[in-house]
Symmetry: none
Subunit: 417 residues, 2 copies
């Protein structure tokens, strides 16, 4: 077995799609010029991947879990713990964690789920929550802000459960909800307790935030106040084997969103922050690519993700998605130029499709390509949904990727004699 | 369902590979002229096979198990029982069996793991062990030699376990090891007992062998003495359903290595020995082919394996591997000439890849082709890794092969009405 080879998984978030009539029936990926991606396909081995299974629309969290070899059917108990890890909370097994939005409410009615996309002042708002709501009953309240309107909440204490309904109604113009135990919860008593504490937290957060100086100033400036924190995405934290133990790979992650960052921290990967990686359309893809190249000098394996293509898909905006795909391509051109592929294997993929016609994740297969060391090239000459369908790798599942990649790297363990 | 059709699985051991720069990026299989294999692909249906699962490097034992439909994840408990069966020991469920090498030691230091590749005298050495070490504690010692430096050891008695570490250090120049219970062994007490007995066996074997007349003579001739037997590859024997019961096929096996031969014996296949089948580069491939043709006269199903391609792969010797592939091709030419494919289905495959660049088994997919009765031919016109990737059979797993083959043979059992 080799120990000197390197591996990269480079993910264009939501990069796969469906045919667009306005693009002559091409997908955005097929319509956009992508010289680097095409070179990778041309000199590499292509195929399609179903992140979870054929037809199952994957989340970014479940897809990244599967691609890294952690069966989401077994280990996924909601996004909350990843969100909370991603904003720096030291989540522990048994904690119940939530993604939260700073939102604007009038009474119970949600006016704006993102509090006018608040950019500043959330640190002070979060500090007020932390100070004034340290516990509810026997449960510790841990609350931390992330970028813009985003935050995370962790409940730590005995007898909690993630099997409760959401507080965030997901739509503006309607009342926020009372959390309730889900029908059929495994531990109804724990679910009832958790729902009760969560509802108390929401009410208390309103009391703390509504007249906070940050919101007084926002109102004075004609901005919407961030006068509540609405939790959603409950999840129970579980134990996951560190990735380095699992594969014998010193591993790094370079990503732009808390959800996936949190997974990386969960797996004890080195999560590398990149200046200029905004998670938006304006992200600095060359800075990300350079960070990948640098990380490879000190790590065996790097997973990188550029978020932008997913945004265009969610917005149903094809030109925006195509620009984002061009960004991914430029990042890969930089990696092709600066990495030695005589002992490095690269895999490119999307974590799921986000077709502009769907404006959400779909369960269509995503195109994949392996390039560099240990790869048996095929005849596919460009990277796209239909071109890659003819490749020699066939249809792989997300859960199979790490075995395929580590095999190419010469680091696969033989089963048998 | 038909009962008059015949089936052949013909395996070129380790025949799959990776691109070789010196062969213009072709694999050895692609670079070697293989008219018979190409005819089989051209007139047959092609695909790729993952013996275990995508990216998992398979052993010969686990791959042959899977191809014959015995799930190695469920039934594989180490190579030892197959090795022991393969040298003619009547292994019983509960026995713990080992592959052994006659080796040369000075004190505990291993000078040569193969005792100068000893060719003669091992029968006498083994007889001495059998006579002088009939039991250790309450455990019966069964020891039998195979070709050259190879031998097998079986421990038979109450409370034994295969969850122990190896005695053979696998490298010359270092001390041989004390076997110890593996951390996390299911039955630590049984593992401790087995390790203790194995260490006692190794010490006693040295006492028996070091001054044995065979070794006195070897020393006089300037040869390395075979003065110890080093066990490795512990395995617990399990019950496997006979292949004929499983598929209703009177089955034969024609192979060259003890490991796979032992599996055939385990499955109560008729294991046919062929004069001239050496397991080496010099093997008589035509004798093997003729034995397949003959066996078909009295059997429904024959599995055959030519070992030579694997040897070239392990040695990183492409010309040697290509010559071995030519041997496989000549064997198949003989089979094509002498078998009536109006009622016979042939499958050709490798049990795993052994790329010259890896010098070991890899987890790359292997090319497969089905030919003859019941086959729906496709457009693939030659047998090779990349050509077969375009075939109509897609990507199959080893565990799916017997269903596909028996279906083509018209012997598949209908599931449903």
């Amino acid at each position: 077995m080799r120990h000197d080879t390197k591996g990269i998984i480079f993910i264009g978030d939501g990069m796969g799609g469906r045919p667009v009539p306005a693009l002559d029936g091409q997908t955005t990926l097929e319509a956009q010029e992508t010289p680097a991606l095409d070179r990778i396909a041309r000199e590499g081995a292509c195929g399609l991947m179903d992140p979870i299974a054929p037809g199952i629309p994957a989340g970014s969290d479940t897809s990244h879990m599967a691609i890294l070899g952690y069966d989401p059917h077994k280990y996924y108990r909601g996004r909350g713990p990843f969100e909370a890890k991603g904003v720096g909370i030291d989540v522990r097994p048994g904690d119940v964690a939530f993604r939260c939005n700073f939102s604007t409410v009038e009474g119970r009615k949600v006016v704006d789920r993102r509090a006018g996309r608040i950019k500043q002042g959330t640190e002070q708002l979060a500090a007020a929550i932390t100070e004034q709501i340290p516990t509810i009953e026997d449960v510790q309240i841990i609350f931390r802000p992330s970028v813009e309107h985003r935050a995370a909440l962790v409940l730590r204490g005995p007898g909690l459960s993630h099997e409760i309904s959401e507080v965030d109604p997901h739509d503006p113009g309607v009342d926020y909800l009372d959390s309730e135990p889900l029908p059929g919860a495994v531990d109804p008593e724990a679910a009832a307790k958790t729902a009760r504490i969560l509802n108390a937290f929401t009410a208390r957060a309103y009391e703390v935030l509504d007249n906070h100086p940050v919101n007084q100033q926002r109102r004075a400036e004609g901005k919407l106040p961030a006068n509540i924190a609405l939790p959603r995405g409950a999840g129970t934290a579980v134990d996951l084997q560190p990735l380095s133990d699992r594969y014998g790979l010193h591993a790094a992650m370079i990503v732009e969103v808390d959800l996936v960052r949190g997974l990386g921290q969960y797996l004890q990967m080195d999560v590398i922050e990149v200046e200029g990686a905004t998670g938006g359309q304006d992200t600095d893809e060359i800075a990300i690519a350079r960070a990948v190249v640098e990380a490879l000098a000190t790590h065996d394996f790097v997973l990188a993700n550029i978020k932008a293509p997913d945004l265009g898909g969610h917005d149903g905006n094809c030109p925006m998605k195509m620009e984002a795909i061009a960004k991914v391509d430029r990042a890969l051109a930089c990696i092709l130029e600066h990495v030695n592929f005589e002992h490095t294997t690269l895999m490119i993929t999307a974590d799921h499709c986000t077709p502009c016609s769907v404006e959400d994740h779909s369960g269509d297969s995503v195109p994949i390509a392996f390039f560099g060391y240990g790869v048996r090239p095929d005849d596919v000459d460009r990277y796209g949904e239909r071109a890659c369908a003819k490749g020699s790798m066939g249809h792989l599942r997300g859960m199979e990727i790490m075995a395929v990649l580590t095999n190419m790297m010469g680091r696969g363990e033989k089963f048998g004699a």
